[in-house]
């Protein structure tokens, strides 16, 4: 049985007064959300010129993610569908402006005015149909389409998401790309079930050169050079933050060492008198990445 909040009730019901308070007073949640928000801001790769930017926090909840934006010196608008979560944000005197709204209805914002957007642990909610009128694909489409329009060209949007399964991950990514975004998935700690976190990093329109040379893994392993044709867009970057860069790269390319190499090593080990499992058709076989 899954205990995912997304399947228990619609967000505006699930995040009621009690849940909003519980969520925001858990020091564990506060810490995790702050870390995720820091990482999202890092992936946003804003110019490092000391000028505050005007950002969006989508599914801002009680303002945990927004606080990280404020701490980094930027201004923000937070949108959330749960009045209870927003009330807690008001009590905590967050610095951003808050809007009660449903991202699935599209964002009512003028074109090209927003410098960047983050969304922490929220967008997977759009994959559920909570009302008979809800069609997840159309709601995602309305959301990404309106987000694309309100961002300034070259701006990024970074979403930390918890998709329930491969189908949800693909649905979200496909709708984002269809809206015109370029980009792909960045996975932190891919080998840890507990710490694994994924970020959808999207760029709006032509990519600025300053963004390409950014220091993060995204800039390095997924250079968005030249154009952004659709088939190039859906790239997946896997980065293990606690590993040195070199190792990461060989892992990522999935080259592995191959069956021959494994057999040779096993033979060597056998000769040394070690207890080595028998060879089989599985030996040295590439493992499926755990999606």
């Amino acid at each position: 049985m899954s205990n995912r909040p997304e399947i228990q009730a619609p967000p505006e019901i699930f995040y009621d007064d009690a849940e909003a308070r519980k969520y925001t007073s858990s020091s564990r949640i506060v810490e995790i959300q702050a870390q995720l928000s820091e990482r999202a801001l890092e992936l946003l790769a804003l110019p490092e010129d000391g000028v505050p930017r005007f950002l969006l926090d989508i599914g801002c909840g009680s303002g945990l993610s927004g606080e990280t934006i404020s701490e980094n010196g930027h201004h923000w608008i937070g949108l959330d569908i749960s009045a209870s979560m927003l009330n807690v944000a008001v009590e905590r005197e967050v610095e951003g402006d808050l809007l009660l709204g449903d991202m699935g209805q599209g964002l009512g914002l003028r074109s090209g005015v927003i410098d960047g957007a983050i969304s922490i642990s929220a967008v997977q909610w759009l994959c559920n149909a909570d009302k008979s009128s809800h069609e997840p694909r159309l709601r995602l489409k309305a959301f990404f389409g309106s987000l694309y329009r309100c961002l300034s060209r070259g701006a990024r949007a970074v979403f930390q998401v918890y998709p329930e399964n491969l189908a949800q991950r693909e649905l979200i990514l496909r709708q984002a790309l269809q809206a015109g975004f370029g980009g792909g998935l960045v996975v932190d700690y891919p080998h840890s079930t507990k710490k694994r976190k994924e970020f959808l990093v999207l760029t709006c329109g032509p990519v600025q050169t300053s963004i390409q040379t950014s220091k993060d893994e995204f800039g390095e392993s997924c250079s968005e050079d030249d154009n952004s044709e659709d088939e190039e867009n859906g790239m997946v970057c896997v980065s293990d933050r606690n590993r040195p860069k070199k190792k990461q790269r060989t892992n990522k390319k999935g080259k592995g060492k191959g069956k021959e190499w494994v057999l040779k090593k096993k033979e060597q080990s056998r000769r040394k008198g070690n207890d080595v499992p028998a060879d089989s058709k599985y030996t040295g076989r590439k493992r499926k990445s755990r999606f």
Binding site: G50, I81, L99, L100, D102, Q105, G112
Partner: protein, 124 residues
């Protein structure tokens, strides 16, 4: 909600062609001090719809902004202008009241500083 946000916000109802700017019905307006940062104002200036800002500020009781959009050079030379812009954009908060769609007249209530922009099902 502050005027910087009001200046970006438009009515999202299906079929509405001109949902900007939302008219402000001010019930209660409060002021909160924010650190003055000219760089941010210069950065935002090009994105601001001036007329909407002037009218929005006026409906919130602040009439110090010049009627016509000033030339961008004042951003470097005129500190008193920057201070006014700063105050209008970032320090005035609409606490209670409503935002009204200029095309349909639909009211979006504002409570505790939060505009309720949720659409009804037949508006999506």
């Amino acid at each position: 909600m502050r005027l910087i946000t009001h200046n970006m916000l438009s009515c999202n109802i299906k079929g509405v062609a001109n949902g900007f700017p939302l008219l402000i019905e001010a019930g209660k307006v409060i002021e909160k001090e924010v650190d003055f940062n000219p760089d941010f104002l210069r950065h935002m200036f090009a994105k601001i719809e001036w007329k909407a800002l002037v009218e929005g500020a006026r409906s919130m009781g602040y009439a110090e902004l010049p009627e016509d959009s000033p030339d961008a050079t004042v951003l470097d030379s005129d500190e008193s202008f920057l201070k006014k812009l700063h105050h209008a954009l970032l320090e005035l908060h609409l606490e209670e009241g409503a935002l009204v769609c200029p095309e349909t007249g639909r009211k979006f209530p504002v409570n505790k500083g939060i505009p309720n922009m949720l659409l009804h099902e037949d508006e999506v």
